[in-house]
């Protein structure tokens, strides 16, 4: 049997990779995907906990989070399309009419 902590560590690593992605990437789409990865890491943790605790609430949460991710994706991608139309770039550093 694999200990639950192994899954949690994996989730933490994925979460960390997502964070690195958000902080270092300059491609908006990749940043966005990294955020999705972070959400998925949370999902993995939820499922692992759910298994460890032997209750199903975690599964329900994952279901809800997936919905949230879908909703975010819809709006986020629409925004990316919008700004690309006007700016012709997906490099986050180019979005600097105002400074970060």
């Amino acid at each position: 049997m694999i200990p639950i902590s192994a899954y949690l560590i994996l989730a933490a690593v994925l979460f960390g990779i997502g964070t690195v992605g958000v902080l270092t990437s300059r491609n908006v789409i990749v940043i966005f995907m990294a955020i999705e990865l972070m959400l998925n890491a949370a999902n993995l943790a939820l499922i692992a906990f759910s298994r460890g605790l032997n209750v199903l609430d975690g599964h329900v949460f994952v279901f809800l989070v997936l919905t949230v991710a879908a909703a975010e994706a819809a709006v986020g991608l629409a925004l990316i399309v919008l700004i690309f139309r006007n700016r012709e770039s997906i490099n986050i550093d180019r979005f600097s009419i105002m400074k970060w």
């Binding site: 902080l23 298994r51 925004l79």
Partner: protein, 191 residues
């Protein structure tokens, strides 16, 4: 080294590999593909953890819909190959970012390890009943105890639809942004 462990190790490695490649690719489409790879590996882990239903949902929703949407957008914007990504950032800012992130990972890993190996009772998977993670069991919870959040997700999706339409729908009388404004790259405001 039984089958479970092998499956876990392989999936974990693939998941991490996909994630790492995803953030390090310069080609956006490749990034998407690597993320899908990582998600597929995660779906395997879900199933291994007894979340059969959610594993399928992960593939259907994420790989089947969300990532398609990503690809669709990339195609719509016709981003081919290396986009204008400018000069690489200075070593200092890059270093700080990596440092912060790596510290975060290390911290989380240590936290988990610390707990897991102190109290193994909770760390080891307990045996579960057959219908653990089945559609029925999850749905039972979802439509009884968690009815309220479930209904809220409905609202959330409605909101997302409205939002996406508002952002992307061109009004009939809408004029494009004048060229001089679009090229205005000067830094206004101070920070």
């Amino acid at each position: 080294m039984n089958l479970d462990t092998i499956v876990f190790l392989v999936s974990a490695v693939v998941a991490v590999f996909g994630a790492t490649m995803m953030i390090s690719q310069r080609n956006t489409v490749a990034s998407v593909l690597y993320l899908i790879l990582s998600l597929a590996a995660q779906a395997v882990l879900y199933i291994q953890l007894g979340a059969l239903f959610l594993g399928a949902v992960l593939i259907i929703v994420y790989a089947g819909a969300i990532m398609v949407l990503f690809l669709f957008v990339i195609m719509l914007l016709n981003l081919r190959g290396n986009q204008d990504m400018g000069d690489p950032p200075g070593p200092v800012s890059r270093f700080t970012k990596y440092l912060v992130s790596i510290l975060l990972v290390i911290e989380l890993v240590f936290i988990i390890r610390g707990v897991a190996f102190d109290t193994d009772a909770s760390g080891i998977m307990s045996m579960v009943t057959d219908d653990f993670g089945s559609v029925k069991a999850v749905a039972m919870l979802l439509f009884t105890d968690y009815l309220y959040p479930f209904e809220l997700t409905g609202v959330l999706l409605l909101v997302a639809i409205v939002g996406a339409v508002v952002v992307s729908k061109r009004e009939k009388d809408e004029t494009p942004i004048p060229a001089d404004q679009a090229s205005d790259n000067s830094d206004r405001g101070t920070n």
